[in-house]
């Protein structure tokens, strides 16, 4: 093959690819001299494109002829006999690897896909699987690929056997394991199917169980997994040596502490004389490095060095502290906010640029973003700045989710006539972080026009201000029940002042005017009201409240507490003379990795002053989805002659609720289920019968972040309802969850 100057290039054998494309990737051009290694480089380049099965260069005079044979295109991929996986999922996975409709067919990719599918089956415990793929050529240089699978029987764990355990009975140890023998729930958990990951996780749990109870020299000698010849039953044997039980003789702290020693010593969980526990050692090292993390030593490393005394079965620990360099934050970047303004997020962050790195501040920032309720997901990473040893960037990635609830409705009812009703509320109005809500209801009986606007960050430190304007008219003359008319017009100003990182003091001052007109058949309480306060009365409610919020998320908190104590007093200048005190709290604690417990409590007391009674429409009401589920909204407590709930001046509500992931949506962040036990009572006018005294209910509820807004459905079953109570098993609520 002696070199020659190329006068022209001709391409043979192309079908789908154009000549231009081949020229583009061919390193030889007209006029070049073709040498041996240039030719092989050209062939390698053309193979590199992945388009061709075969490439040959030939010489025809001084024309370079490029023979190519295109790889066929894939026309169709079919799966037969696949039950364990969803076929669409498989197609998407294959598309990632490059095996998809209309793509170029490459046998090496097919082999890799086959191996991968077999390995996936083994992970699912399907040891008896037989898989083969057939490639059928079609016209126009295309191929069909068919994966035929005989999934065979699932290998189930018949027996797990631990040998060499003396201190703890085998049943207790096996209780720690995820893997079990077939039981009543294993059809769902599939924990009776062997998987290497689950076994190694279980072995780790076993090791920590022993190491946390003093068995410093515990070791797992061998784990043997054997399968029966028919590939249906799996036997696992774990041989262990427990070794003696060690106690801690001494604990020392050494190295460059950078933080006062007593403070670090308090963080060490391990006390001399106690039984050794690895969990306490790791916990101590974590607490110390976190404490150093708050001082900017992001890469501090703390390790506990044991000195073992075999005879006395004692171990002494020295915690060596190496703070490393103090690390500073160069830039804080925020990504994923296509709607929320950057400042609305940045103002929640406690970690500043140009400051030293603080792990606690970053954790606090993440919690505050979760608590805003604008984001489905908030993630943070702290990559090191290339070229420096003491600078990091902090990248927050948020996934936004709709923060508004939009309810538009038009209805026609005999009593109300044409009713245009709508409420629109947007907690993150135009991404500015301000909350706006409008409510319109133009029915004849109930007409409501209400606007409320809140600016959480009036000042950069989070002093918030808000305004509510509302007009509410009720005209029940057309209803056959006791008829009356009320017309209320009001305005209210709100101010919130944060006094610590989590505590806020809220003030409110409002002015409200109510016109009441009664008729001969009006309910008694209306007539009494007009007699005491007159047909038209003004009211200037002044509210002051204290709120502390340490929850770790707005919609699905797993830990933290929300408390709010509220006092509302009407200023003597107005006609109404009353005061209302109320306290609400929600306390969340994680029970397991997926279960969360909520203890909710609420109490309220109100009364008039200067001899005036508490106005009846300022009473406390209970019952309904946010207080005692299973009873109609506001139906607890005394009722008037027309069986209308009156409410009362004293309210007590309590609830215990356990949240768990929606079955089937194990790691879905938008839905949660819960079982609850509610209790509540409203005490008011003793003389009236009704549902006075405590009412209990239990049941199940689902909360879901629907595209239209946070939705809560609940099925409550009253436990001690009397027949006079108004039961309402199914209830739902759209909008704010608290």
């Amino acid at each position: 093959f002696e070199p020659f100057v190329v006068r022209d290039i001709r391409v043979e054998g192309i079908q789908r690819i154009e000549a231009g494309t081949v020229f583009n990737y061919l390193p030889l051009k007209v006029g070049d001299t073709v040498t041996e290694e240039k030719a092989s480089a050209a062939i390698k380049a053309l193979y590199g494109t992945g388009f061709f099965k075969d490439v040959r260069l030939e010489r025809d005079g001084d024309v370079l002829v490029v023979f190519v044979e295109e790889r066929p295109a894939i026309s169709q991929i079919d799966f037969i006999g696949v039950r364990e996986f969803d076929v669409e999922q498989l197609r998407a996975a294959l598309k990632q690897v490059g095996l998809a409709q209309a793509r170029i067919f490459d046998r090496a990719l097919l082999e890799r896909a086959e191996q991968e599918l077999k390995r996936q089956y083994l992970n699912r415990g399907k040891y008896g699987v037989q898989l083969n793929t057939t490639v059928t050529p079609l016209d126009r240089n295309r191929v069909n690929i068919t994966f035929t699978v005989d999934e065979g029987e699932v290998a189930k764990i018949r027996q797990i056997n631990i040998v060499g355990n003396a201190a703890f009975p085998e049943s207790q140890l096996l209780g720690l394991f995820q893997l079990t023998t077939p039981g009543w729930l294993t059809w769902y958990t599939k924990n009776d199917q062997y998987s290497k990951q689950k076994l190694s996780a279980d072995l780790e749990t076993l090791r920590s169980f022993y190491l946390d109870r003093g068995y410093l020299e515990f070791s797992i000698d061998s784990t043997q997994v054997s399968i029966t010849p028919d590939k249906r039953d799996i036997y696992i044997t774990i041989t262990v040596t427990e070794g003696p039980r060690f106690t801690v003789s001494d604990v020392k702290l050494e190295g460059d502490l950078r933080v006062p020693e007593e403070e670090l010593r308090k963080l060490i969980q391990l006390k001399p004389g106690e039984v050794f526990s690895r969990a306490k050692v790791t916990e101590s090292t974590k607490l110390i490095s976190d404490r150093l993390g708050d001082e900017g030593y992001a890469f501090a490393n703390v390790n506990a060095v044991p000195k073992v005394d075999k005879e006395k079965k004692e171990v002494a620990f020295t915690f060596f502290v190496d703070p490393g360099r103090r690390v500073y934050v160069r830039r804080v970047n925020i990504q994923g906010n296509t709607r929320t303004r950057d400042e609305v997020i940045r103002r929640e962050l406690r970690q500043l640029e140009g400051a030293w790195y603080s792990a606690r501040k970053i954790e606090e920032s993440k919690k505050r973003l979760d608590r805003l309720g604008y984001f489905k997901e908030v993630n943070v990473e702290t990559p090191a700045v290339p070229g420096t040893t003491d600078q990091v960037d902090v990248n927050f990635t948020v996934v936004e989710q709709p923060t508004g609830a939009l309810l538009l409705g038009a209805g026609f009812s005999s009593s109300e006539g044409l009713v245009l009703s709508g409420s629109i509320s947007q907690n993150n109005f135009l991404g500015t972080g301000n909350a706006l809500s409008l409510q319109v209801n133009s029915g004849k009986v109930n007409t409501v026009y209400a606007l409320s606007f809140t600016q959480p960050y009036w000042t950069v430190d989070g002093v918030s201000r808000g305004i509510d304007i509302y007009k509410r008219d009720v005209d029940s003359t057309s209803l056959d029940v006791g008829s009356y008319k009320t017309a209320t017009l009001g305005i209210n100003f709100r101010l919130g002042v944060p006094i610590t990182a989590d505590d806020t003091i809220l003030f409110g001052l409002g002015a409200e005017n109510t016109e009441v007109s009664t008729f001969v058949n009006s309910p008694q309480r209306f007539i009494d009201f007009v007699n005491t306060f007159g047909r038209s009365n003004s009211n200037f409610p002044f509210t002051v409240a204290w709120q502390r919020d340490t929850r770790d998320s707005a919609f699905f908190p797993r830990s933290g507490r929300l408390q709010r104590a509220n006092a509302e007093i009407s200023i003597p200048a107005g006609d109404l003379k009353y005061y209302k005190l109320s306290y609400q709290q929600q306390w969340f604690t994680p029970l397991t990795r997926t279960w969360t417990l909520l203890l909710r409590g609420e109490a309220g007391y109100g009364d008039g002053y200067n001899g005036k009674p508490l106005p009846f429409y300022k009473n406390f009401f209970a019952g309904g989805i946010s207080t005692v589920r299973g009873y109609r909204t506001g139906s607890l407590g005394p009722r008037d002659v027309n069986d209308e709930a009156l409410g009362g001046n004293t309210l007590v509500v309590g609830s215990v609720e356990a949240f768990f992931p929606f079955p089937g949506f194990r790691d879905d962040k938008t839905a949660r289920m819960s079982v609850f036990l509610d209790a509540g009572a409203v005490y008011g006018d003793k003389s009236k019968a009704g549902s006075e005294g405590f009412r209990f209910s239990t049941g199940v509820s689902v909360s879901w972040l629907s595209p239209v807004g946070p939705l809560r459905l609940s099925f409550g079953f009253p436990l001690n309802a009397k027949d006079t109570d108004k039961k309402e098993p199914f209830q739902f609520q759209l909008g704010r969850t608290f």
Binding site: R158, S222, D230
Partner: protein
């Protein structure tokens, strides 16, 4: 679509068991005596013969001695432990293995002598010879204990592959040597007195992509003849080696879980598909193949003079002609599977079913 059977757990075993083939009996199998010993669940218990005594055990912990000629129970003892391997007997000691890795030794009168802890499940009967008890752990380890005290003399150990087949393989203790097959297809010869490794040979090579395909375990006890020792590997081969140096004499591509038996110059093996083969011991040529019992999950065969005995999963004892493999006779027992190999005693042989019946059979 999913077959209905697939939905409700137990679907058909891999190969469908063939129905009982028609038979023109050319011999007569008769039950000399029958006794009951208790269920052996998913394990394999084998009776042991010592002098005029037959010892048998079962999963619930009972160990019993029967009179070899009449089958009368001489004594019956509850060991109080979950038994998983047994029975081995000889030199005045009766041995069983427990789930927690203990070897229990009793004297021929049923009195406990000693207990030794080896720290791994025992699934095969301990052997005793020349004052040494050889016992296999389920993790493949081979332990040698003093027959009179149970003190450990030596232990031989190999690394385990990630996944192995559940095996009830024991060790063959013959003429001062111990032959043991291992997961991964290896066969090792050890000196009985001190555990020194004589030689190591490869019965089968693991091959394939996944852990499952790479199983090629010697899952049955090897059998030793005059100058050959033969072993069978599951998903592997059947092979015979020179007993002195482990050189491979011949190897045939048959996969066998149940195992093989050498009798009078012929090697009988039950393959995975439950075919019975007669192979010529010297060069491994196939003499005959009996394939009317496929899928019946046959036990390890026993060469018995002019016949070959094998049990199946419905408790039938099949008698085949040693020369051409033809079906000579058949005898139902209690309907439960015969998993372990029949044991030769005197002029008959013993069979123990998983349902718990122990029978002495004779051919007429």
């Amino acid at each position: 679509c999913a077959t209905v059977a697939g939905w409700f757990g137990r679907s058909e075993p891999a190969g469908k068991p063939s129905p009982l083939p028609p038979i023109k009996p050319s011999a007569q199998l008769e039950v000399v005596w029958r006794a009951d010993i208790g269920r052996s669940a998913a394990l394999q218990f084998v009776p042991a013969v010592a002098g005029d005594a037959v010892y048998a055990a079962s999963a619930d912990g009972t160990l019993a001695r029967f009179d070899a000629t009449t089958g009368r129970a001489v004594w019956r003892v509850d060991t109080g432990k979950k038994l998983t391997g047994g029975v081995g007997a000889g030199e005045g000691v009766v041995l069983v293995g427990t789930r927690d890795g203990e070897v229990l030794a009793y004297d021929p009168r049923g009195q406990p002598r000693w207990t030794a802890r080896i720290g791994t499940v025992i699934l095969s009967p301990p052997q005793v010879a020349e004052g040494v008890v050889v016992v296999r752990g389920a993790d493949g380890r081979v332990f040698a204990l003093e027959a009179d005290s149970g003190k450990r003399r030596w232990v031989y150990q190999r690394t385990l592959p990630a996944l192995s087949v559940r095996s009830f393989a024991g060790a063959a203790v013959v003429r001062g040597a111990v032959f043991a097959g291992f997961p991964g297809g290896k066969l090792v010869a050890l000196r009985l007195s001190d555990g020194l490794v004589g030689w190591e040979a490869t019965v089968a090579q693991p091959r394939g992509a996944t852990e499952l395909e790479r199983i090629a375990d010697v899952a049955s006890t090897p059998d030793v003849a005059e100058s050959e020792v033969c072993a069978a590997a599951f998903q592997g081969r059947v092979a015979c080696f020179d007993v002195r140096n482990g050189n491979v004499l011949w190897a045939r591509n048959f996969s066998s879980y149940a195992g093989l038996d050498v009798d009078g110059g012929v090697l009988y093996v039950a393959t995975d598909r439950s075919e019975v083969l007669g192979l010529e011991l010297a060069r491994g040529a196939t003499l005959w193949r009996q394939d009317k019992l496929t899928g019946r999950r046959l036990s390890r065969p026993l060469g018995f003079g002019p016949y070959v005995v094998v049990g199946d999963f419905e408790g039938y004892v099949h008698l085949l002609n040693a020369d051409d493999g033809g079906l000579a006779a058949r005898l139902p027992t209690d309907g439960s599977a015969i998993a372990a190999a029949p044991v030769r005693t005197g002029d008959g042989f013993l069979v123990q079913t998983t349902g718990g019946s122990l029978l002495l059979l004779r051919v007429r």
